[in-house]
Amino acid sequence: MAEIDEGDIILKLDDVTKVYSGIVAVKHANLSLRRGAVNVLVGENGAGKSTLMRMIAGVEKPSLGRILLEGKEVEFNSPADAQKHGIGMVFQELNLFGNLSVAENIFATREIIRGIRGIDHKAQVEKANHFLDKLDAGISAETMVEDLPIGQQQLVEIAKAISLDTRILILDEPTSALSAAEVDILFKVIGELKAQGVAIVYISHRLEELMRIGDYITVLRDGQITGQAMVKDIDTKWIVRSMIGSDAKDFAKSVDHKLGAEAFRAEEISLPRKTGGLAVDHLSISVRAGEVLGIYGLMGAGRSEFFECVIGQHPHSTGKVFVAGKEIVARDTPTRIKRGLALIPEDRQREGLVQVLSIAANLTLASLEKLTRFGFHIRGDREQGAIRDAIRDLSIKAPNPDFDVTSMSGGNQQKVVIGKALMTNPKVLLMDEPSRGIDVGAKADVFRTMRRLAGEGLAILFSTSDLEEVMALSDRIAVMSNGRITKIFDRAEATEELIVQAASEGHKSTREIA
């Protein structure tokens, strides 16, 4: 590996650690950002990229360690603080006011004021249009942001960051909602900024983009920096290796067991998207008892939406769901859970756990009726027993089940969510990104549990955006793209190339239309 050219360092993170409730998001990271260059950051979901950037942008404060700006230690108490030092960020989730116009959004908190006559709307619109034109956005600065499609909203966010005249510009997945033509324009603008000496931080999952515009690359895995290099010295293989790590993940060996009869079937599931089109597009699939079906797809492919339709979270969805050959007509979640479906949601904090409750109360939350006498009295002995069993079966490391659920690590929290789902005695288990944001050991535990459950005759559908994971764990692999299943592979015939190809199929066609 060639030496890394030190370059012109503007900002340095020195041994930074960030801890959230239950998760160490970043561990002792050292990172240098260089002027007049595109500093690329890659890593799997939950590797800590966004957290790292949020610390630089002043959204979060590091729990340990320091930030050095041009050699001097600084402390950012707020994003406004960081902005004063010339740091701007485009967040992964858009931070726009939908009820205000594009110009008002771009100049939020630094409105152009004409003395006591208030805001100079005309000047704002003029200036905003100037930035928007630079991006070839084709957006009028007077439009309401909520009336724009998501891709254009992202462009507004980018225009806003550019208008800040920043020295460091952080772009967190800026292209996730952009069309190919828009990406080209964005890259042109990035090139111009680079020439002006701006340090650009670029976060993306799309490796080919990184190779195209990156100068320096930093790879993160499980909150730690695992590789740093100059982009010209490396290839995508190196990136993948650093991302996944040389130590092969501890996947549970698949035990061969006979598959049973069909346990789950979905027919023609469709879900309209708010902005038009279908998030889930006439999706049909069938899974047998004891089978593990991996659903692979990129962000926004509609995997979570499909699972939510099945569990009954979208009353507007259409299509039929069968468990063990019988159709479930009722569309509400309680009935669907009762009939043998269970979902482990993707977003553990928002949808999986009730943070204020204890570990024990979270575990039994979905199955309280089963633990009662006379239908209303929760039997302490039975509840304790069920909790003990779950903690043992899933090897949850809980010092005391009465502690708050947030006192545990992310992996153990995930096991609690799984335990909660299993206590309802499901026949079909839907797992949405079950390994997201948890450490390696917990991942191995979760995978082992999945194989064990399949061996016991459960039908498991799990979604992931991790290739290695889907290849190792699934009996069959369904590739989803743009709300549809583009290909279903048997484990024997699947290769990484074929899967990646199938995953981008739907996207390409719509891009051309758009």
């Binding site: 979640t333 949808e351 999986g352 009730v354 409750l357 109360a361 009295h377």
Partner: protein, 354 residues
Amino acid sequence: MTTVTSTQNARAGDGGSLLLTLMKLRTFIALFAVIAFFSVFAPNFLSTANLILMSKHVALNAFLAMGMTFVIITGGIDLSVGSIVGLCGMVAGGLILYGIDLQIGYTMYFNIFEVAAITLLVGIAIGAVNGLLITKLNVAPFIATLGTLYVARGLALLSSGGQTFPNLQGNPDLGTTGFAFLGSGRILGLPVSVWILVIVALAAAYIAKYTPIGRQIFAVGGNERAARMSGIKVDRVKMFVYMFSGFCAAIVGIVISSELMASHPATGNSFELNAIAAAVLGGTSMSGGRGTIGGTIIGAFVIGILSDGLVMMGVSSFWQMVIKGIVIIVAVVVDQAQRRLQQRVALMQLAKKD
């Protein structure tokens, strides 16, 4: 009351530091502080007569505060309880005095048990209206209950044209006597209303701790989306808490009109604010998910003793309001400080571990 002690025991184990423990016990400390203060400075404060009188005052607010606690734990608010008190008082008074005119020349009269039952049903029904507005029509709890606040108060005033229903002794011929028992009766030396409070409080604490609906109330307030995903019937839980709150308010309406032997339509004005104050003082979090019945009862005692004690000391009612406001604010500030401290301790431990 069982709930408050058990959660505190569970938490005391992990915190450790003295400051944290003191902060957790703040409602108890406040209670002892006000009792100690007034026993020294207010003459006759500790006399039996005064203690019983105070407990009657406290009981009224405690009923409302319990209902309010469940509502706040789900992340809502119920502003209508004061008006429900007024309306239910009028319903009880009207039934005793005039019965129900059946429009065919007969009027139906009820004995006081039936009167109480009907009045409670009216309270529950208004709670159900609140619940339906909030769950089915998606009205924000603040607005929905603000609306029913006006409607219920208006109906109370309309029922008598703004007049008081006096002399609720009832008529022995019609079998409507005995109403005074609820308000001024005694069992084993304690007022009947206090006994009712004990029963309802034990029931509420039981619901909170040992029943699925109780657990679900906390889950809905802690993370409504996760609760939905877990198959909890969130709408049903919300209906329950508003109906329970209406039920508690109806009890207060009956007790007050029984104490006074008269129903006045303006009774219960701004009672909702005292109820919210008691719940918050007792550690209920306005953002939902946290709170205990035991804590709320103690909160109600602190507020009740504070206002009665200040009256006995001859402090002007204007100053009383200032003092009550400060106590509430301090309680919430300490609550926030405790949570931050607890979080920081937990995070530092986790950072060190890795």
